[in-house]
Symmetry: C2
Subunit: 121 residues, 2 copies
Amino acid sequence: MEADPVRSPIRVALEVCPVEVGIAVLGGTWKLTVVKHLLEGGTMRSGDLSRTVPQASQRTLTRQLRELEQDGVVHRRVYPEVPPRVEYSLTELGAGLADVVAAMNAWGRVYEAHLDGQNTA
Amino acid sequence: MEADPVRSPIRVALEVCPVEVGIAVLGGTWKLTVVKHLLEGGTMRSGDLSRTVPQASQRTLTRQLRELEQDGVVHRRVYPEVPPRVEYSLTELGAGLADVVAAMNAWGRVYEAHLDGQNTA
DNA sequence: CAGAATCCTCATAGATACTG
DNA sequence: CAGTATCTATGAGGATTCTG
């Protein structure tokens, strides 16, 4: 099986530090949000994702999904139908991001609380 | 006390999803690596950090540190000496990133193993 | 419905040289 | 030693239009 080529930001990250690999894979805007929703919602269609992340332009969302697919995090299934249907789901590797998502989510909330504390104090 | 203004990527992330906040704060190249080393090494001087992340240009490293400082993750202490001495350490908020670093690090290793598996299989 | 093609703008980051 | 200033290049991401 022909594996997808590893994107160059990831190759760089691999040489620097394992923590940078996650940043390289998830660094694009919305990527982690997409992963989070796929973790929660299982399989989702393109339109579902667009509605879930309305701030992302369609072009950007598509690109992010393609990169996540290339990086082995997301699986893309195309149904040969009219009108077309495409479903996205997490690979095993992608499902392994659950801990990352949880840690990020928790810290994000701490950060929010921190900001609120600054304003209220 | 006058709080640093919240950088715009973070403001956007706050409106989208808590997981994006972490990405917004740590998204710059080397940032998570810096945090990881500060977690391990405690206080570090600029030169220490430069040597720890030799791939980063000095200008970039300085900017990243300033942003981390602005975001409340890193504390910067300047000693009024000649030659100058500047020490960086994590704030409480920054120390809270330990779980994120651990999760990222673990997943980065899984990712490496995944790539190796592809080549070996 | 899903996405490709085109155009545009701004932020990021590197290299280099200089300063207190 | 730590940092700033300047210049440059790359690319990420948005808006819009078009197609099977």
